[in-house]
């Protein structure tokens, strides 16, 4: 009961849900688009695939450190580039209005991980479906909409489930950019970070355990709901 009366518990839950609502769909779309692009047979495609996949295997701590400098409001690369166009770049990691978008930006950087899974899914789509569609006069867009995306939905479903679970365990980036505080103004106080603070910073293990159980229940419910929804949009044909 004490958990539900805690303002910061609800705040951390909202920060996490908000991030999940924004980042999961964006990373999903970027991952699919990248996979579609890297499924085209052009010379040196293996090199392109490697380049896009590489960021996802760089340790998260190293990636976050680099992004902290790229997004530095005064000397960072992003604001320096914006300054060339006479745009006064925001405080990406110091202004609470921008922290969410900075973290989403960092998530897109790692979209190569899901891209590889989509690519495997694309390779699994039977060629005869495209041949039949070509005979029926379907163009590229129609083939993508009517064949590729429906046949890819089991992979999208998998990445969606994993993405949602991943966001509820989101910790490293938030811990690093806020130095463990969840700031500025609680804008990076993710659920896992608050759970860590309660358990290990305030030494309140009972509270941390209660939060872990609540997290387990939330993830089970969300996964169940996504599984329930699959009847409407996931196609296991082919």
């Amino acid at each position: 009961m004490m958990l539900f009366q805690d303002e910061l518990f609800w705040k951390s839950l909202w920060v996490t849900i908000r991030y999940a609502l924004v980042s999961v769909p964006i990373v999903l779309v970027v991952g699919v688009l990248l996979a579609l692009l890297l499924n085209i047979n052009v010379k040196g495609i293996a090199i392109f695939r490697t380049i896009f996949y590489l960021p996802s295997i760089v340790p998260m701590v190293a990636t976050t450190s680099i992004f902290m400098w790229i997004l530095n409001p005064q000397v960072g690369l992003v604001n320096r580039v914006l300054a060339l166009f006479h745009i006064d770049g925001p405080g990406w990691l110091t202004d609470p209005k921008w922290t969410l978008w900075s973290l989403v930006f960092m998530a897109i950087w790692g979209a190569g991980g899901s891209m590889v899974i989509y690519l495997a899914g694309l390779k699994d789509i039977p060629q005869y479906l495209y041949e039949a569609a070509t005979l029926d006069g379907a163009g590229v867009i129609k083939k993508t909409r009517m064949i590729t995306l429906p046949m890819l939905t089991p992979v999208i479903f998998f990445n969606l489930v994993m993405g949602v679970i991943g966001t509820f365990q989101y910790f490293t980036q938030a811990f690093m950019i806020s130095k463990g505080s969840g700031g500025p103004e609680d804008s990076t106080l993710f659920y896992a970070l608050y759970m860590f603070q309660r358990s290990w910073k305030y030494m309140d293990m009972g509270y941390g355990s209660a939060m872990a159980w609540a997290l387990f229940v939330i993830i089970v419910i969300l996964t169940f709901l996504i599984f329930q929804s699959q009847k409407r949009w996931v196609h296991y044909g082919g």
Partner: protein
């Protein structure tokens, strides 16, 4: 069915490969487990005392030097030092204690002592003292230092390096704007005005040189009044007129500089502790609010620097030489195997016995002394003569307005909430008054919950 020789050969090769992999894994795991155990004593016949500390890099050299001195002075014990990173050191201590393999003694940030002590994991150090040592301990050491290691009146930590904050002043910058570095401003308002003169901005409005910037409401509040804890009534005091005046002054100072510009400036600086890249040293900040350990860093990285250290500047009719004391304190877990040996080491380093000998160790690290006995010893006085700016911190330590952190079991939570109130009001999200009202409500809610659960009296 006839045996298939090709299949058998392939199968046999697979088994060999799998067994080889398992053997390699087993050897690796054994090596890892062996290397992860506590370090061994090196001197035959001595009882090993494991000491965990949080000083890395060049500070570790000092720690090893002190440990060597102790080991040389001993016939019974050998202290074996082990560095553990500062981040998460409480966690490591807790896990090792719960897991049954704790260090015998550890240097810990005093802010963590209440929460660890309230879990029943720390030894009451007075139970290890002789009656004479107990009498000396309760009479001689600086009051703020003694109380910083206590929780609910029980001594769980003894300092080996207390910390206080002050203002580091770049004398050259001050002269540039016509100010005298040897005449500190009389009031906080004058200090803010001086800081404004020292600011340098570029054509885009970005701060190139920060004149003066201040934070840490919890500490600053002691210059305005009784601060955030009433020692007599043992109650938390948050929404009080003096705290409101302190918070308002800090917020107004930040507004004057420009909160966003200040954030951008600090984001571009290396503000980590124990580094020669501290922005004050290259002149990026004219008046820096920082701890006494920077004196030693300036001596190492820019020995010729012309600077002064001022104490916290109070407002008009405020309290001079204010401060809240933090730092490294020696703790001994309840489950330590060598409590006696551990306490011998604590006494040796802290100066609880032979303060004149311990003075040398404090000088090596540039640390604040345990007691006036250490401070008045010839070696420490010599250190103050060669590092005159350090004296400001010693004077603050001996003054009436130097306080320990609030003596509550959820100190870290309390500190975080006070910082949160300061941050929110500095950003203009809430007024200082509203920030203190919210703080009062949040902290008292937490306190009520803890009382219901039996964590607080």
């Amino acid at each position: 069915m006839a045996a298939n020789p090709t299949f058998d050969r392939e199968n046999s090769s697979k088994v060999i490969v799998i067994r080889s992999i398992l053997a390699v894994l087993a050897i690796t795991a054994t090596w890892f487990l062996m290397s992860a155990k506590m370090p061994d004593a090196n001197i035959p016949g001595r009882t090993k005392v494991v000491f965990w500390h949080r000083w890395g890099g060049e500070w570790e050299v000092v720690v090893k030097r002190i440990v060597s001195r102790f080991n040389e002075s001993q016939t019974e014990y050998e202290v074996v030092p082990m560095f553990t990173t500062g981040t998460g050191s409480e966690t490591k201590f807790m896990l090792s204690t719960i897991g049954g393999d704790p260090p015998d003694v550890m240097s810990m940030w005093n802010g963590a002592i209440p929460s660890i002590a309230s879990g029943g994991l720390l030894t009451d150090l007075e139970t290890l003292m002789t009656p004479e040592e107990k009498e000396y301990f309760n009479r001689v050491p600086y009051q703020a230092i003694r109380e910083s290691g206590q929780f609910k009146g029980v001594t769980y930590g003894i300092t080996i390096g207390a910390d206080l904050m002050g203002y580091y002043v770049n004398a050259k910058h001050l002269r540039e704007v016509g100010a005298d570095p040897d005449k500190p401003p009389k009031t906080f308002e004058e200090l803010v005005a001086l800081g404004t003169k020292l600011n340098i901005k570029d054509s885009s409005g970005n701060i190139k040189r920060m004149g003066f910037n201040v934070n840490e409401l919890m500490t600053q509040a002691y210059a305005w009044g009784p601060g955030f804890y009433n020692k007599e009534s043992k109650t938390l005091t948050m929404n009080t007129p003096s705290n409101l005046a302190a918070l308002t002054a800090l917020v107004e100072q930040k507004k004057g500089v420009g909160f966003d510009q200040a954030q951008r400036f600090w984001a571009s600086q290396n503000t980590g502790s124990s580094t020669g890249a501290w922005p004050f040293i290259p002149g990026a900040v004219s008046i820096a609010y920082d701890g006494q350990w920077r004196v030693e860093e300036i001596r190492k990285y820019n020995p010729g620097m012309d600077y002064r250290v001022w104490p916290l500047i109070p407002p008009k009719d405020g309290k001079p030489y204010a401060g809240s004391l933090g730092g490294n304190f020696m703790i001994i877990p309840t489950s330590a195997k060598q409590k006696k040996g551990a306490f011998e080491f604590v006494k040796f380093w802290s100066g609880l016995t032979h303060p004149e000998r311990a003075a040398e160790f404090y000088c090596w690290g540039g640390w604040l002394p345990l007691s006036p006995d250490v401070a008045n010893s010839p070696k420490y006085q010599e250190y103050l003569r060669t590092n005159p700016q350090f004296k400001t911190f010693v004077d603050t330590l001996g003054g009436d307005n130097c306080h320990p952190y609030p003596n509550v079991g959820f100190l870290q939570y309390y500190l975080d909430q006070v910082n949160r109130a300061e941050d929110q009001s500095s950003r203009g999200s809430v007024t200082p008054k509203q920030a203190l009202i919210n703080l009062d409500q949040t902290v008292n809610d937490e306190l009520r919950k803890r009382k219901e659960l039996g964590f607080e009296d």
